[in-house]
């Protein structure tokens, strides 16, 4: 048996059956990390754990006593004196932190090229980007360098790298998982979520990390509970919306074909496919860049050099660009034209989805317009980079849940299927994803390293 290929639920079963002790489990992963991390650069910090179920944590989530850099020079030596809520919840469930994963600085980016500590390589092809910003977590799961990982998603930062690395990545409904301890990028959009080897694993991790904590005031009072009968109940009669806007120009034709095959598969499984329209989606990226950068400019103001040592000149190029854009759009005289206008268009984007969800249970489409691209390809064109998040951003603007799960390959690189749910209905998203996953063999594919 290859211990590191087991999913979380399989690992728990095996531990219960005493097939191997926790120490062997940790040793197996640590050995694999030592072997492969120099090649992939997925981890920034490795913890020599001996007990517990090894989880990889995006380095933007605070871990008491373990360096948390946000992949930034500015926090090069920062050791948080407290744990994020999700960390405490994981530890209570018997998970252990095996390491902190690399990502774009302060979670800003779609390719992982914005990390101050070097790029993460895509395990499927190390000349390609792993996606971003949670590229390290995605690569760690894809390369079996952890049992599961946590990422954070502000504009697609869990789903897009999950898509590009061929793993499951779930962004919960805003307010389901506490953000306490998550180094904020854009507070009204950020959400922590699981990156796993299976949909069932994602559901289980969600159950572990969700629920109100008295620290995040935006949280729902209800805790997410997995209902296994529901997860496994199939999708017969489920109404699945396909937005025409998500299949227009800009989507790679080969990726489009893979997604259309997946839609056919869902139809075979008994779902009813319904065409829906999300007309304001074309503005989502513009809305996002105003609101996100405004929040960024404020969230990064605390790094003033007094308490963490490093001066503000240490921010990377993308962080500086967003601070500049946000500061500009909030500055005197521009409120109505930028922030207020963007917040109103956000309402229109939200209303599009509400209207669509009157007709359908979930909406599907692509996660990323393309598969993983070459390093450097979009680095000099920030706008092109921003537009690669066009399908994932609306879920953050509206707070709805979304998942990416493997649904095929283009040029030997994974493609992710995007399933978006109603606000608060994370369960149906997982249920749909589970049905598709069980009916296909994509998750059994592993990168050759």
């Amino acid at each position: 048996m290859n211990i590191t290929q087991l999913t979380l639920t399989e690992t728990i079963e095996a531990l219960k059956r005493k097939e191997f002790p926790e120490e062997d489990l940790n040793k197996a992963y640590l050995e694999r990390i030592k072997d492969l991390n120099p090649k992939l650069n997925a981890y920034l910090e490795i913890v020599e754990s001996k007990k517990g179920i090894p989880a990889a944590i995006k380095d933007v989530i605070s871990t008491r006593g373990i360096k948390t850099t946000a992949s930034s020079k500015i926090l090069e030596n920062y050791i948080p004196p407290y744990n994020g809520t999700v960390i405490n919840k994981l530890l209570e469930q018997g998970a252990s932190i095996i390491g902190k994963t690399n990502h774009d600085e302060f979670a800003m980016g779609s390719s992982n090229e914005n990390s101050a500590y070097g790029v993460v390589k895509n395990p499927w092809n190390i000349s390609k980007v792993p996606g971003g910003s949670s590229g390290g977590s995605a690569a760690a799961v894809a390369a079996d360098l952890c049992v599961f990982a946590l990422g954070s998603d502000t504009g697609g930062s869990i789903r897009q790298p999950a898509s590009l690395c061929g793993v499951v990545g779930f962004k919960p409904t805003y307010g389901t998982v506490s953000r306490y301890g998550l180094i904020a990028m854009a507070s009204s959009l950020d959400q922590i979520g699981p990156m796993t080897k299976s949909v069932e694993d994602a559901a289980l991790v969600m159950e572990w990390i969700s629920g109100p904590d008295g620290y995040d005031a935006n949280m729902s009072s209800e805790k997410f509970k997995v209902k296994n009968e529901k997860l496994q109940s199939g999708i017969r009669g489920l109404k699945i919306g396909v937005p025409s806007e998500y299949f227009e120009e800009g989507l790679d034709p080969k990726v489009k074909q893979v997604i259309q095959d997946a839609i056919k598969k869902l139809e075979e499984l008994g779902a009813e496919i319904v065409e829906v329209s999300l007309p304001h989606s074309q503005y989502a990226v513009a809305v996002y860049y105003i609101l996100m950068s405004s929040e960024v400019s404020s969230n990064l103001a605390r790094f003033d050099g007094i308490r963490y040592g490093k001066g503000r000149d240490q921010f990377g190029a993308e962080a500086k660009r967003r601070i500049m854009l946000g500061t500009y759009s909030l500055s005197s005289g521009y409120w109505d034209d930028y922030y207020a206008q963007a917040a109103k268009v956000r309402t229109l984007v939200k209303q599009d989805f509400e209207k669509a969800y009157q007709k359908v249970d979930v909406i599907i489409g692509p996660v990323s317009p393309t598969v993983a691209w070459d390093f450097g390809a979009k680095l000099d064109d920030p706008l092109a980079m921003y537009l690669s998040d066009i399908y994932t951003i609306p879920a953050n603007l509206t707070g709805i849940p979304g998942i990416s799960l493997p649904c095929g390959f283009v040029d030997d690189l994974p493609v992710g299927l995007h399933i978006l749910g109603k606000f608060g209905d994370d369960m149906t998203v997982l249920q749909t994803a589970y049905a598709y996953e069980q009916a296909t063999d994509w998750r059994k594919e592993k990168p050759k390293l």
Partner: protein, 97 residues
């Protein structure tokens, strides 16, 4: 929408961001391009539309006024600072303003 070097300088000052002349030049160009893209928002008719600032759906999330267990020790408080003195953080002098 183009952003001049001077505007970039002004914004950088507001943001407390030290930029090199090269960076000023670069951001003037890049931000202008991004703002051009963002300008499409102004073509959307939003009359009568309420803004969305928060999608949590929550309201009145408040806590009782009692002491909690969030407080950390002085040692932990000062643990990441480059300079401290008798329990205080230390920074270079500032004038009241």
């Amino acid at each position: 929408m183009s952003l001049s070097r001077n505007q970039v300088k002004h914004v950088a000052k507001l943001a407390n961001l030290p930029l090199t002349p090269q960076e000023e030049e670069k951001y003037s160009e890049q931000l202008s391009k991004i703002l051009d893209y963002i300008d499409q928002l102004n073509s959307v008719d939003t009359s009568g539309v309420e803004p969305t600032f928060n999608v949590s759906g929550q309201e009145n999330m408040m806590s009782e006024d009692k002491l909690g267990d969030c407080t950390i020790s002085q040692e932990d408080t000062l643990s990441n600072t480059p300079k401290e003195e008798r329990g205080f953080f230390v920074t270079k002098g500032v004038f009241e303003g």
